[in-house]
């Protein structure tokens, strides 16, 4: 068979390569910096009696903070947890946690074993807050500015590299 019979096929494959790459690569990790929208109005019950829950009205800070979506059933959350602990220990930025679709006992166990980096923890069993935030999986981390604007929405585990590259510059700025 002559080569020129394959030309249409080659052209088609060439055209299809682009959407194929986009579909395969889009899903897992990305950091979104869409037009800054306000942190939505959410109220979540606390996990522990001693640690406050999440109430948007109380979150008016004078400095930026992180909101981290986690759950005991989420494997990648375990992978990123040590990094969150290091952020807490070095007091770089306050971290609030949203425990998504989890059981209280399992979540507490998770934090007992891996440590608790959160100064506030809210429970979201019905995904109400998650949908308000535009979350589609765990873990995800938001960087919120001092005046409650969402600066970054990172999907996937938070690593040192991503934090240094994407989060730090904005934290210094705001």
């Amino acid at each position: 068979m002559k080569v020129r019979f394959f030309i249409p096929l080659i052209i088609l494959l060439g055209i299809l390569i682009f959407p194929a790459i986009k579909i395969i690569s889009t899903d897992k990790e990305q950091t979104l910096t869409k037009p800054n929208r306000d942190f939505p109005n959410i109220v979540l019950q606390p996990l522990y009696k001693a640690i406050p829950g999440i109430n948007s009205k109380e979150l008016i800070n004078d400095k930026p903070f992180l909101v981290n979506i986690f759950a005991s059933w989420c494997l990648s959350c375990r992978a990123e947890h040590p990094f969150l602990m290091s952020l807490k220990e070095e007091e770089i930025i306050p971290i609030y946690g949203i425990n998504w679709r989890d059981e209280d006992e399992k979540a507490k166990k998770f934090l007992e074993i891996l440590g608790n980096p959160y100064s506030r923890i809210g429970i979201d069993k019905k995904s109400n807050a998650i949908i308000e935030l535009g979350v589609s999986g765990a873990p995800e981390t938001f960087l919120v500015s001092a005046n409650n604007k969402i600066l970054l929405h990172h999907k996937g585990p938070l690593t040192q590299q991503i934090f240094v590259e994407k989060f730090s510059p904005l934290i210094k700025k705001y």
Binding site: P8, I23, D27, L32, K34, R37, R101, K126, S127, N128, I130, I131, E132, L133, G134, S136, G137
Partner: protein, 162 residues
């Protein structure tokens, strides 16, 4: 079954047993069973997750809700709408949307809200605006290019006698 395959490979044509379909290894009865099995699987794939949820009593409202569900992409399962998807996120999203519909929100409001939170990817049909104009035009564009190529090659063939 293995015997039939072996005989087939060895190219031995055994005389037809009564009821056997010629040139296959299958008997009429087993063929019937195979057909029933395949049909059952095919149609059971249409059983959807929504059947076990609390639906609206108002049939018209439920229909509108379902149409809305079909237009929203499930963010954790590539290609499925939240109507098709059985994932937890889709389930929760359906509940939340039902609540919003009960509160009186319009389809446009709900879709706009979701687009602000999740981006354009959450819509099954991408919006029509400047950015997406090329996307919408591309099927017609490709057909046009294909026709041009066909015609040009057609002319070339006519001019050179092969």
């Amino acid at each position: 079954m293995m015997n039939m395959i072996k005989k087939f490979k060895k190219n031995k044509f055994t005389p037809l047993v009564k009821g056997q379909i010629p040139r296959t290894g299958l008997h009429k009865s087993s063929f019937k069973k195979l057909c029933i099995f395949l049909l059952t699987i095919t149609f059971s794939l249409n059983a959807n997750a929504i059947a076990i949820e609390k639906q609206f009593d108002d049939k018209k409202l439920e229909k509108r809700t379902i149409e809305l569900f079909k237009d929203i992409r499930c963010m954790v399962c590539t290609g499925e709408s939240i109507y098709d998807s059985q994932s937890d996120l889709a389930k929760d999203l359906r509940k939340v949307i039902r609540e919003k519909i009960t509160q009186g929100q319009t389809d446009k409001q709900i879709l706009d809200d979701l687009t602000i939170r999740y981006g354009n990817e959450i819509l099954m049909t991408p919006p029509i605006n400047q950015n997406t104009a090329l996307l919408w035009a591309s099927p017609a564009l490709f057909i046009f290019i294909g026709l041009v190529v066909l015609i040009t090659i057609g002319f070339k063939r006519k001019n050179h006698s092969v």
